[in-house]
């Protein structure tokens, strides 16, 4: 008989301490051994995880009022500008913003030692952060300047809100040019000297529910070491399928999530300020999503292993910067993780830029939380657009 479970049934089992929870990695081998049908009837929840640099991250901070009051017009946190065009004492600190005096790429490749992601990590580490703000003075907000130390516990709200995280799939980046290049996927050596990739493959949340059958608005997740929620689809959410030149299907790609959570309960182990040499500052985010095994289809998708998940190979010296579609083929995550791949007859060493051991730790932590009954699954208020919805990306003219 076909397996059909509801969120309510699964949550009842979680509360009773009887839920069967496995990590996505464990499910891959379980399904190979027992088949989809048995795995789907036995397993209630599959946990996933990813820990990689995720631009489009940041936090809303509400500082509280000073005496006399100031309507902040410009704000800096440890000399990193934050955006305060929201309200008098509210600001958004973005992960990729850098210090006012950062030399950027003037001495190429720049180091981008400290940025918004580092500010957020210092905040969650409960370190003191220097807040500086200026205002133009109004009748109700007369003050024009303030400089004071804050900690995350001193301010009223700190809400992590990342408009685009958890990319479903990502490129395998190479460099076909004759010089070293510095990209958001790390340092790429000339003449295909190396290849970098950045998803956790068989543990990656959106590769395990690729058709968004369970992940939607309101899904409760592991975020930055604490609990967060899916707020919306991410920006640049273009769910689709990768297809080879000969029409071969290479699986899903293009989905993203926007996520939210209380920064005060997160941890510096899972929100890490990151400096990509020659590229910029960003933040590495730990994110994990539980997938309820409601039926066999969901189980089948969640059980796909690294040998059946593929990344497109893209040249970052010429094709990517010029927005040209490149056709260097596809490569499986199993091959990427082996340390060597073969591109056009050349052996190329590979390296990840997202941490597989940490992704595994996230999936294991989420599993423990659910097994202990601390973490219940939430049924999404609305599911997100998937590969069937035919969303097409726009691009800028000019």
């Amino acid at each position: 008989m076909a397996v059909e479970k509801t969120y309510q049934e699964i949550n009842a089992r979680i509360k009773a301490g009887k839920a069967v929870v496995v990590t996505a990695e464990e499910l891959v081998s379980m399904v190979k051994e027992k088949g989809v049908e048995r795995a789907a009837s036995e397993v209630d929840v599959v946990t996933t995880g990813t820990f990689g640099p995720m631009c489009s991250s940041g936090a809303f901070l509400s500082f509280g009022h000073a005496k006399p009051r100031i309507k902040m017009h410009k704000v800096w946190l440890n000399n990193v500008p934050a955006y305060t065009g929201i309200a008098a004492v509210d600001a958004y600190i973005g992960a990729t913003e850098v210090r006012e005096d950062d030399p950027l790429n003037s001495d190429h490749p720049g180091e981008f030692r400290y940025g918004g992601g580092h500010v957020i990590q210092d905040l969650v580490a409960r370190k003191k952060v220097m807040l500086k703000a200026t205002g133009y003075g109004t009748d109700c907000y007369p003050r024009k300047e303030i400089e004071t130390e804050i900690t995350i516990d001193d301010i009223n709200e700190a809400i992590l809100f990342n408009p685009r995280n958890a990319y479903q799939n990502y490129n395998c980046a190479i460099n076909l040019s004759a010089k070293t290049i510095y990209t958001y996927l790390g340092v790429l050596k000339p003449h295909m000297g190396n290849a970098h990739f950045s998803t956790s493959g068989q543990l990656s949340p959106l590769l395990k529910d690729p058709m968004f059958r369970t992940i939607g608005i309101g899904t409760r997740i592991f975020l930055g070491g604490g609990i967060g929620y899916v707020a919306w689809n991410g920006t640049q959410h273009f769910p689709g399928r990768n297809t080879g030149e000969d029409g071969t299907d290479y699986g899903f790609a293009g989905g993203t999530l926007s996520v939210i959570g209380d920064l005060k309960q997160m941890s510096p182990r899972w929100l890490v300020g990151t400096s990509m040499i020659g590229y910029g500052a960003t933040m590495t985010v730990g994110l994990g999503i539980p997938i309820p095994i409601l039926n066999e289809e969901i189980c089948r998708y969640a059980a796909v292993g690294d040998d059946e998940l593929y990344a497109p190979i893209v040249d970052y010296s010429e094709d990517y910067p010029n927005f040209k579609s490149s056709s260097l083929g596809f490569i499986s995550y199993a091959q990427l993780k082996s340390g060597k791949i073969n591109i056009n007859g050349k052996e190329v060493p590979t390296a990840p830029v997202s941490s597989y051991p940490r992704a595994r730790e996230i999936a294991a932590t989420l599993k423990t939380w659910i097994k202990k009954g601390d973490f219940l699954l939430s049924e999404p208020v609305q599911l997100l657009a998937n590969a069937d919805s035919g969303i097409v990306a726009n691009s800028l003219k000019g």
Binding site: R113, N194, V272, T274, Y356
Partner: protein, 133 residues
């Protein structure tokens, strides 16, 4: 003159040339090769003990060929609190000192193989590779 330890880094063009032989023959130096490595891209690294009157001239000769020469007074350490085992340094490290342990994908650092080239210090996005003197 006391022997000095130096680290050499060179690209594929130099890997095929008899530079050490030249140092011995033309500059009358006593050379002890402590570590040597050429990766599949033919980029090489070498740690040498150099002893002899003309050590400085020998080093100038290496530099004139485009070899990067640094004296080995520093050490590199991996700050395990900061390293997240992302792996981004492992194909940048020319000597194999930073490597991924499979199947767990944990990044290990073998300081015995490190040639103190500093490439990882800047390439590590978490600033987990530190120089100590």
């Amino acid at each position: 003159m006391a022997p000095q330890k130096v680290v050499l880094r060179f690209d594929a063009k130099i890997s095929d040339q008899p530079v050490i032989y030249k140092l011995v023959k033309d500059y009358d130096l006593v050379i002890n090769i402590l570590k040597a490595n050429v990766n599949p891209q033919k980029e090489g690294t070498m740690v040498l003990d150099i002893n002899g009157e003309k050590a400085e001239q020998g080093i100038d000769y290496l530099r004139s060929l485009g070899v990067q020469v640094k004296s080995l007074t520093e050490q590199i350490i991996q700050n395990e609190q900061k390293c997240v085992s992302c792996g981004a340094c492992t194909d940048i490290c020319p000597s194999g000192a930073l490597y991924i342990e499979r199947p767990d994908m944990i990044v290990r650092f073998d300081s015995d193989r490190c040639v103190v080239c500093h490439l990882c210090v800047k390439a590590c996005p978490m600033r987990a590779m530190e120089v100590c003197f």
